[in-house]
Subunit: 316 residues, 2 copies
């Protein structure tokens, strides 16, 4: 509570705030899918598009002493392009709102935008508009729009479906842990924290293969898979032996005395994909089976609750 | 320059920064109109949409001691819906990125979102997605998307065209001047600064009537009309006798010893529209002829350069 005795957003936390805000929002015939999934799905006079937005704040989402302007731009673009990817879509256009203090070098802003465009080139998208404003700290607001022939929601997983992942898991989380302790190596992990490598081909391929549910992994596999389990009303069990621990992740685990599997299961910021498919599906290239959906609720590992850090929540 | 001798964004200012950033941005077949107008125009697999974005920062775009959360939400929505209006379009969907400190009352966030939805109801739009994050100051990032059958650009004005306005002019500027001096009346002016009333019907009507160029007035009529003159390669002369000075604006002018016409010509934040039409056009209801386009460059008033404050530029 604040001095006036009112509950604050810090009291209730990010997820409760989002729930309450959503309760204020209406609906219209253009909104095929509103808030609550990786992206919204909106109809136009003559077609449809998918759209997602992210707000990044210096000191919380990135640090100028950890990442170059180019890397910040690439990552800001990647986390939004990944949301479109997670719908099975392909991003075509981004808008960028940019707030910065007057003493920011011009070169920093230019390098950041170059980073955006380099990352966007992976899917053929470009920046189509933006806004700049003065701000004490750097703020980057990104909205990505794109096409999705058949948007894949979080809510379609069925008991009996197989669970599969595409993309890298644990590298960025291990890189974050490394940087947080003041180290700069292993380089592959640190680089993965600075610039993620979302599996951009894998989203549309999964949609084409009939994925029943899909999301991207920004907060950690267990946390994000929890959203699929909850939205779909299924239980999901992961098979820990299905995960190959990347060598740099194993190195970081040893150095910091942390089970390397923790980074794979709970590390964020790799922007890999996790999806469910009917058990008859032949998985597209790059997708690896890691678990199974069944009747019930919650996410388990080898049949048991996983004891370890879960995803990050703002103000908590 | 900063301590390292690098030019900073404060050195070059908002407009030069935008120019340089635009130079980094590429193009693809989906981008029918890129950065530089009120909104971009993007094609999808099966249609098109228009999109615009704004970033609002507490203390620069709004003050919690001047405006309620509800008013901040309404204004944040209005300035984006206005960009779609200025293309001759109708907004259908908004995304909202929201950064705030932990001690913000939950009720402030809820009231702000209610304000968004109330303003969006004017055009039938809704919020379709968002993001929340922790931030020292409140930051609101808005992206509006909509339909425009025939987007009206800033670049289509021709010599001989008539220039016309729709909506209120000078009220919000007079309200800002009032609040800046510590006064709270005249109420109509103060209220106009808190919550603008964009003429939402006028944009699509102008497009339907064949407007050759159009923009909304966020920085002041002279400043924003300057964008049309420059993009179209025409000169524009305004007839000062064509403007009716709203009574509260006259009151503020008298009280502060300022020519009330200054608020009409240079005051921002009313989100009125200014457009050009071929001289044969019958102006739609609500549009008032205020000037003429001709060969040349620049914007004049009664044939002369207008001596007075121009639009706001960040970091300057």
């Amino acid at each position: 509570m604040n001095a006036a005795g009112e509950p604050t957003i810090g009291d209730i936390g990010e997820f409760a705030l989002i729930d309450q805000l959503r309760g204020q929002i209406g609906d219209n015939r253009h909104i095929l899918l509103g808030p609550g999934d990786d992206a919204a799905h909106v109809s136009t006079n003559d077609g449809t598009f998918v759209v997602s937005t992210d707000l990044l704040v210096e000191g919380r989402h990135f640090r100028r002493d950890w990442s170059s302007a180019h890397d910040v731009g690439r990552k800001a673009a990647a986390c939004n392009l990944s949301d479109i990817n997670a719908m099975g879509g392909v991003a075509t256009a981004l808008t960028v709102g940019f707030g910065a203090p007057a003493d920011l070098p011009v070169s920093w802003a230019l390098e950041m935008i170059r980073g955006f465009e380099i990352e966007c080139a992976h899917v053929g998208a470009h920046i189509v508009g933006g806004d700049v404003t003065a701000s004490d700290k750097i703020v980057i607001a990104v909205t990505a729009m794109g096409d999705a022939v058949r948007p894949v929601l979080r809510s379609g997983a069925m008991p009996g479906d197989i669970v599969a992942c595409a993309g890298r898991l644990g590298l960025a989380g291990a890189g974050f842990a490394t940087l947080s302790r003041g180290f700069r190596s292993p380089k592959a992990a640190v680089e993965a924290h600075r610039v993620p490598h979302p599996p951009y081909a894998a989203g549309p391929q999964a949609a084409g293969a009939g994925a029943t549910a899909m999301t991207d992994i920004s907060d950690g596999l267990l946390a994000d898979l929890g959203h699929i389990a909850e939205a779909s009303g299924v239980a999901i069990d992961l098979d820990s032996s299905a995960f190959v621990i990347p060598e740099p992740v194993a190195t970081v685990g040893e150095a910091l005395g942390v089970d390397a599997l923790t980074f794979v299961l709970t590390g964020g910021d790799d922007y890999a994909l996790v999806a469910t498919f009917s058990s008859q599906t032949t998985l597209p290239d790059g997708w690896v089976r890691v678990g199974t959906a069944s009747d019930g609720a919650g996410v388990t590992v080898d049949g048991q609750a996983y004891e370890g850090p879960r995803g990050h929540q703002h103000w908590r």
